[in-house]
């Protein structure tokens, strides 16, 4: 569950990214975040895993109040959220297996569980045969699926994706979306910022549109609503 109440965010350079955001996302929902570039989508996403701190307002993530979150508790928050980035953010010098295992090592899982879980998620994203490769040996689509595998390996209740298909060709994008739909079908909340009109209009879900720091639309089964 994600709840934002009267959230404002002004950056130190004076730019106001968000002004008065109110959002309530239930467990198991699939939500697109759309809007023009620079409207505040990324800030909205970053607030959820505490890469940015709101200037004012309340944010609740899985009953954790981010206002009261101390710096040393940030890792605890991030372990409950799987994050997928446009540029994958894989550790370049680790193998695929080690990249995914890292998310389990930080929560001190026993090694036998780690092995089992990593092989399970690799199977889930269809890349079991790439376990020993390093990220630069993989295609963009494969790298993104590895980063998705890393995001879901510790079974988070929430997966956040910031333009996950931004660097991928249309065909690969659909494979990624299929994977996200599977993850969501198992009860994981999925929040995805995107610029893809095609995806939003084809795979119909709840759409939250952010324009100049405000929520302009919030519709179930919504449309993309922009020309590009």
């Amino acid at each position: 569950m994600i709840l934002m109440k009267d959230v404002y965010k002004t950056y130190p350079n004076g730019v106001t990214a968000l002004s008065g955001i109110n959002v309530d996302i239930k467990q198991g929902e699939f939500v697109y975040i759309v809007g023009p570039s620079g409207a505040g989508k990324s800030t909205f996403i970053k607030l959820m895993y505490r890469e940015e701190k709101p200037s004012s307002g309340t944010i609740l993530i899985n009953d954790m109040n981010l206002e009261e979150l101390k710096n040393r508790q940030i890792p605890l928050l991030r372990r409950q959220i799987g994050v997928v980035f446009q540029d994958f953010k894989l550790l370049p010098r680790l193998t695929v297996y080690e990249n995914i295992a890292y998310a389990l090592e930080v929560i001190e899982e026993p090694p036998s569980n780690i092995r089992q879980r990593v092989m399970d998620v690799l199977e889930e994203v269809g890349l079991k045969n790439k376990a020993r490769s390093t990220p630069n040996e993989l295609s963009g689509g494969e790298q993104q699926r590895i980063s998705i595998a890393r995001a879901i390996v510790n079974r988070p209740k929430i997966v956040i994706a910031d333009e996950p298909t931004g660097n991928l060709d249309p065909e690969t994008s659909w494979e990624i979306m299929k994977t996200f739909e599977d993850i969501n079908a198992k009860g994981t909340t999925l929040i995805m910022a995107t610029h893809s009109k095609e995806i939003v209009n084809t795979m119909k879900k709840r759409v939250i549109a952010i324009e100049s720091g405000n929520i302009a639309r919030d519709e179930d089964q919504g449309e993309y609503g922009y020309e590009i």
Binding site: P75, R79, L91, R93, Y102
Partner: protein, 297 residues
């Protein structure tokens, strides 16, 4: 932290050492170079210190008793000397003993002095040692003021200069060693910083995946420790080998009676342990200092 997590950090730290290749070799090289310098200086300063201490401890005040002083007065004088503050020991040496040691020190020519055995012109003497060598001069002055004293002899100028020299040598040695250690830390933290800057993006990713600062820091800590320990291997070999050679070969041929090196066992081992410890500390400090900046997010 669980034990298996500690094992994981050690494993990852070792892996990083191998994965960093040339940077590892550069860091170890920096540690090795500085530790060799530190080791040589330490060996030098500690030995100088030891030699200085030996000479200082040999400083004694020879008190010559006035001729014609009665035995009772001589005994009383001995008591007075012992009562002076800071005096460690007072040894009586009768005029006969004085003559014997004089004859002995003359070697072959000493026999000519044997004539004096019939009519000994020498004074009785007290050999006085100070507890602290630096008190020698003050004690000598106090003795001078006592009755029945003929002369008080101690190498005043020599002793004072020796003390001065020793103090300078000590201070300079310590300053040099401290400066070297700091240079080493600076060098190593810079070298490690280069490897960490290359990995700063990775550290960011680790934090996004939910790693605590401690979890990220541990492998770097292990890596620094290993760099320091590996970097101290060659200096330790040089210390052990070089000192063994110096101790056995060189000293036998030179054999100054007053130059006595600290014995190989335990000194060389203690020095090796110290070098290992300094290596480990600069390795750890260097890596922990340089990662600190990247952990602030």
């Amino acid at each position: 932290m669980k034990f298996r997590t500690l094992m994981r950090h050690i494993r990852v730290g070792c892996k990083n050492i191998i994965r960093n290749g040339w940077m590892t070799i550069a860091s170890i090289g920096a540690v090795t170079t500085t530790l060799i310098l530190v080791a040589v200086f330490l060996a030098l300063v500690l030995n100088l210190n030891e030699i200085a201490k030996n000479i200082e401890n040999d400083v004694e005040i020879k008190t010559l008793v006035e001729l014609g002083t009665s035995d009772e007065e001589v005994i009383a004088l001995g008591k007075q000397l012992e009562a002076i503050e800071g005096v460690d020991s007072v040894t009586f040496s009768s005029n006969d003993e004085e003559l014997q040691s004089l004859i002995k020190s003359m070697g072959d020519e000493g026999t000519t002095w044997e004539l004096f055995e019939q009519d000994n012109p020498l004074n009785h003497a007290f050999i006085v040692r100070a507890k602290v060598p630096q008190d020698t001069e003050r004690i000598a002055e106090e003795i001078q003021s006592l009755d029945n004293i003929n002369r008080v002899v101690f190498g005043k100028d020599v002793v004072e200069q020796l003390f001065k020299f020793n103090n300078y040598a000590r201070v300079i040695g310590i300053v040099l060693i401290v400066a070297l250690v700091f240079t080493a830390i600076f060098l190593i933290s810079n070298t490690i910083k280069i490897t960490i800057i290359a990995r700063s993006a990775e550290i960011g990713i680790m934090k996004l995946v939910g790693a605590t600062n401690g979890f990220i820091r541990w492998p770097f800590f292990i890596e620094g420790l290993l760099l320091g320990v590996l970097g101290s291997v060659i200096p330790i070999a040089i210390v052990l080998g070089g000192y063994y050679y110096l101790d056995s070969a060189v000293i036998d041929t030179i054999s100054f009676s007053f130059v006595e090196l600290l014995p190989f066992n335990p000194f060389a081992w203690q020095l090796s342990l110290l070098i290992l410890a300094i290596g480990a500390i600069i390795g750890v400090w260097g890596s922990v200092m340089s990662i600190r900046k990247f952990l602030r997010v």
